[in-house]
């Protein structure tokens, strides 16, 4: 009889190595650095450091404005979390994301022109700058800076972790990377903070963070915008290539949808292996391996199956139980029958909605593991239609870009470009990953890996493995383009709004410049330190940060731009009102669900309550407090009444 452990080692070897993917990815990274270097060189010729470093001298043309706006909005979630959701729930995600058809118009059209005008009059470089000058109040500026820095830092943490995870997924099978992991493993135990960190994650975090911190610190806003433009192009090229490859390889969209309609959601359960003879040497069967059970069921390991010396029965291990018979034709099943019997333990658990039903992936409200109501009720679908559009309009990172375009003609053309860009990205992603459900079964055990897995599957099947590097550069680009923008925003908040306005108003240009470099670097390092042992509820952190920012800034900023009656106290109350409502819903959620979850009062998106809280506070306090000086109203509205 063949020995078990060498057989496992042989079977675990990657079927293919993709050095060409690494090379194309390295070329992409070199281009990022080249652009940052060029941007830094160009900035040296400019006389005004602050406006150039943080706002690119308000010189964004159509392509730069449109693509930096689109790329910053498309964070890691668009290319990792969103595909994972499509894969797990099917066509219903088209409705979940449908608001993106009007997002470009709402997020840019509602505030941009007026925001740009007011920021020019105020000579503002940051979002708190606008509010401070508009109300002639440093308190308003300080509250805005505090809230912005608080929520933005959470977002930064989440994106740093997402970037590192993507890099780890991309590089995991490469020998050079494995050597690097061994090297990190050798020294990480010497430092208190890194003792508990996984070596592969730590290596990727250091690679990712050093890249982004260096190019953002050196190049400033212009480097961020230029790299965003390139990253935006990489994203759309990646998606378009994947769309063509997937439709060709799956045999057309009709074929894919019909097959999808025949699929039932998988079940989950546990297995044990009863070995015929005691195990001679400890080892493990890796996560992701397909096995056939004694009763003929096909299961996929959701965790590694550990084998200890002397064992005759393995410990129970979680598995996904496949319910579709066609899967046998598409996956590589390990045959353990020579060494033992694979047995399912207890009763497998099915989905709360969709268990045993065909057609759930092509109908509404979609299958759900936990909710009998399905994945997306019509009420929640409407809530998301509100949230994506208006939540986007309230993001300070979007507001900064709206301060930076050249003129209103650029704005108008950019809205059209962003609309076409989002059409080319988001709807095709739904098509691609509905097809992925048909092509790659069992990915529910690691849904976040579906994007790189699909890129690899499609590229290798098409005979162009180097394309993998280009396609997986898309999610990496998405994370990078978000991280660099947020890094710069937090840094501008500290340097401009705290130091220059409150600590040393007479600081020289040279001092400000070096302080800016140091602050950007230090904030980046602080974020790295904070995610060395990353928080568990990462996606929740992103939702917490984006919802909080929109809740605090959307209505106060809109009212500041359009209503003469807002007072200084009203503005502060509005921002704090949004923040308090947001935090209260999280505190209630924490008490109710015993975890970092938000409470959806009356089943409505919490963002809507945040906006309501913020609006009522702004209006109520403004009506009861002293109006602002007539000169300020005349300055920003053209007339006192």
């Amino acid at each position: 009889m063949e020995t078990l452990l060498p057989w496992i080692q042989e079977a675990s070897q990657p079927k293919t190595e993709h050095q060409s993917a690494l090379i194309s990815f390295a070329v992409y990274m070199l281009l990022v650095f080249a652009l940052a270097w060029l941007a830094g060189r160009l900035r040296k010729g400019k006389s005004e450091f602050m406006s150039e470093y943080f706002l690119g001298s308000r010189g964004l043309g159509m392509w730069a404005f449109a693509l930096t706006f689109a790329a910053t909005n498309a964070s890691g979630g668009s290319f990792m979390g969103f595909p994972a959701l499509i894969y797990s729930h099917g066509w219903i995600l088209a409705l979940w994301i449908a608001s993106y058809m009007v997002v470009p118009l709402v997020t840019t059209g509602l505030l941009a022109k007026r925001l740009n005008q007011v920021s020019r009059i105020a000579k503002a470089v940051t979002v708190p700058d606008i509010l401070r000058e508009r109300f002639g109040s440093s308190s308003v500026g300080l509250v805005a800076t505090g809230l912005l820095t608080f929520f933005m830092f959470f977002y930064l943490l989440a994106q740093f972790k997402a970037g590192s995870q993507i890099l780890a997924t991309l590089l995991q099978d490469m020998p050079l990377f494995q050597q690097g992991v061994l090297w990190v493993d050798g020294w990480k135990g010497n430092f208190f903070l890194t003792q508990q960190t996984d070596a592969d994650y730590l290596l990727c975090l250091l690679l990712f963070a050093s890249t982004v911190i260096v190019y953002t610190t050196y190049g400033g806003f212009r480097a961020v915008v230029w790299t965003d433009v390139m990253q935006g192009i990489v994203m759309v090229i990646g998606v378009v290539i994947m769309l063509f490859l997937v439709l060709y390889q799956v045999g057309g969209l009709s074929q894919a949808t019909q097959k999808l309609a025949q699929l039932e959601p998988p079940k989950s359960g546990t297995i044990r292996v009863e070995w015929k003879e005691p195990i001679l040497e400890a080892g493990r069967i890796p996560k992701g391996v397909w096995l056939q059970t004694e009763t003929g069921d096909l299961v996929r390991l959701a965790k590694p199956l550990e084998m200890q010396q002397g064992d005759t029965l393995s410990e129970p291990v979680e598995v996904l139980i496949e319910t579709n018979s066609d899967t046998y034709l598409t996956v590589d099943v390990w045959d353990l029958s020579t060494w033992g019997k694979t047995l399912i333990q207890g009763e497998p658990t099915g989905y709360a909605r969709g268990d045993g039903s065909k057609g759930v992936y092509v109908s509404a409200p979609g299958p759900s593991k936990n909710s009998e109501l399905g994945y997306l009720s019509i009420g929640m679908a409407f809530s998301f239609f509100v949230f994506w559009a208006f939540g986007g309009a309230g993001q300070p990172s979007n507001m900064v870009r709206q301060m930076a375009f050249t003129d209103s003609r650029v704005l108008k053309r950019s809205i059209i470009v962003i609309s076409l860009y989002y059409t080319a990205i988001y709807f095709p992603l739904v098509i691609i990953f509905c097809c992925a459900k048909v092509m790659l079964p069992g990915m529910e055990i690691t849904p976040d890996r579906i994007m790189p897995e699909m890129a690899r599957t499609l590229s290798f099947a098409a005979g162009v493995p180097w394309l993998t590097g280009l396609i997986v550069a898309a999610p990496f680009a998405a994370v990078m383009s978000s991280v660099d923008s947020f890094l710069l925003m937090v840094s501008s908040g500290v340097v401009r709004d705290v130091y220059q306005h409150h600590v040393n108003p007479k600081a020289s240009e040279r001092a400000i410049k070096w302080l800016t470099y140091a602050t950007t670097t230090l904030i980046g390092i602080a974020a790295v330190m904070a995610v060395l042992n990353p928080p568990t509820y990462l996606q929740n952190l992103i939702v917490f940060a984006t919802g909080g920012l929109a809740g605090c800034f959307l209505m106060p900023m809109a009212l500041a731009l359009f209503w003469k009656g807002v007072t200084q106290k009203g503005m502060i109350a509005g921002m704090l009102g949004g923040c308090i409502t947001h935090l209260s819903l999280y505190v209630i959620g924490y008490l109710m669900y015993d975890g970092f979850k938000v409470y959806s009062f009356l089943g409505i998106q919490p963002f809507i309550w945040d906006v309501l809280g913020s609006t009522m506070a702004t209006l109520g306090v403004s009506k009861c407090s002293k109006p602002i000086a007539t000169e300020l109203i005349t300055r920003y509205f053209g007339s006192p009444r």
């Binding site: 009007v102 005008q117 000579k123 003129d407 609309s419 220059q500 108003p505």
Partner: protein
């Protein structure tokens, strides 16, 4: 200050909110009637490879929104000068908003 930006943007805001509401209805009504009212076991109705509720409730409005956005931007949004009485560049400012010397 160029007063037209303030006036035009107010009008454009109403236009944008109206367009958003129209597309919200265009998406929600067909999706609800064709998607939510049909049991998963019923025979799948498809149009061009999409489930019919996705085609009529999302794909068609999405294309329609692109057309509407182009028309709105071309005919509904004014090209206002944003810096008629202000310099294009920005200056580092003191806390009171005055340019530094």
């Amino acid at each position: 200050m160029n007063h037209s930006v303030y006036e035009n943007t107010k009008k454009e805001t109403w236009g944008i909110l109206l367009l958003w509401a129209c597309f919200a209805l265009w998406v929600m009504i067909p999706c609800y009637l064709l998607g939510y009212q049909q049991a998963p076991e019923e025979t799948l109705k498809m149009v061009l490879g999409f489930p019919s509720w996705v085609f009529w409730g999302i794909a068609v409005p999405w294309l329609g929104s692109n057309v509407a956005i182009v028309l709105f931007v071309c005919f509904g949004m004014a090209e206002d000068p944003l810096d008629a009485h202000e310099s294009v560049g920005t200056n580092a400012t003191s806390p009171k908003g005055e340019p530094e010397k």
